[in-house]
Symmetry: C2
DNA sequence: GGTCAGTAGATGCAATTGCATGTAAACTGG
DNA sequence: CCAGTTTACATGCAATTGCATCTACTGACC
């Protein structure tokens, strides 16, 4: 081990978390009203976005659920609604007859792209003035490291 | 201005935000099931916590609303429920007869403290292994700076 | 191969949420 | 001072959410 890094105490971790959390709230709150989220709520967009990131294009419902804060029954019904809107398609998983796989339809993919572009543009306007490029880079590294280092849920 | 810091591009800001957001989701998701949130949902606890931070002990409803992601009618009714549970008290504001001020009751303050202690303890267990004390400090500074530097909502 | 525990989603139902709108008080310009 | 606008919160109501539970399938053990 190179330099001695001392372990964080409770105050340090609590304050850092609180600051991160409040920042997330502040940004989300400003984003809520923006026009791109008129057609789809932010939660729904987040579902489309997560699916769009899957290499194969298909995800298992339970896997998707882990990336979201909503409960399993809520996701189940949200997917139902998004299928009804023509934005998603479902199929039963090959190797596990209990499982459901979902993917974006062409329409869903297109809507995700449209909203995504607007979203990124507005996000950039909102947060870019606050930090330098170097600081954003540090922030990304620190949050990635934090996320990857979380103690496994028991 | 000392060194030349270059301005962040769109990719840089979007990736940093996404990483922060995903980290927040990962932590919140693990927190949801913990026993301290059996008596009160996380949203409700967050309300008590925010009020507990007010120097005077009283807050205006609209001011409190700005620190939360829920809508104004939702907060209005959540406060109603928390008053019914005996955790909050309400009064009309002195200088503005339209306004409502709320504060914790003794019972509410005590419950907030109990949940808060458990929460901080579990949070620490969960995230402390991920970063050093110095890194948590950097994370706090960066998120504070980000929050304070957000472009004003139009 | 049959029983039993565990996992993936679906569903009934009550509670919570948000949207649109309502009411009342405060501000504003003449 | 008074009409018109804005602000703060409440309320009707439909949509969404979560909890508890159910069904169907899987995997393990014997």
């Amino acid at each position: 081990m190179p330099d001695q890094e001392h372990l964080p105490d409770v105050r340090t971790t609590a304050q850092a978390w609180e600051s991160l959390f409040r920042t997330q709230v502040a940004v989300m709150r400003r984003m809520q009203g923006l026009p791109e989220f008129k057609k789809l709520s932010m939660r729904e967009y987040d579902v489309l976005f997560n699916i769009s990131r899957c290499p194969t294009g298909w995800t298992r419902l339970n896997e998707l659920n882990e990336a979201l804060l909503i409960s399993q029954p809520s996701l189940s019904r949200m997917v139902e609604r998004l299928v009804a809107k023509g934005l998603l398609q479902r199929r039963t998983a090959e190797q596990d007859q209990r499982g459901i796989e979902i993917s974006l339809t062409e329409e869903g993919r297109e809507l995700q792209r449209i909203i995504g572009r607007e979203h990124v543009r507005h996000l950039h306007e909102m947060i870019a003035p606050a930090l330098s490029a170097e600081e954003f880079g540090q922030l990304q590294l620190l949050t990635e490291k934090l996320r990857n280092g979380l103690k496994r849920a028991d």
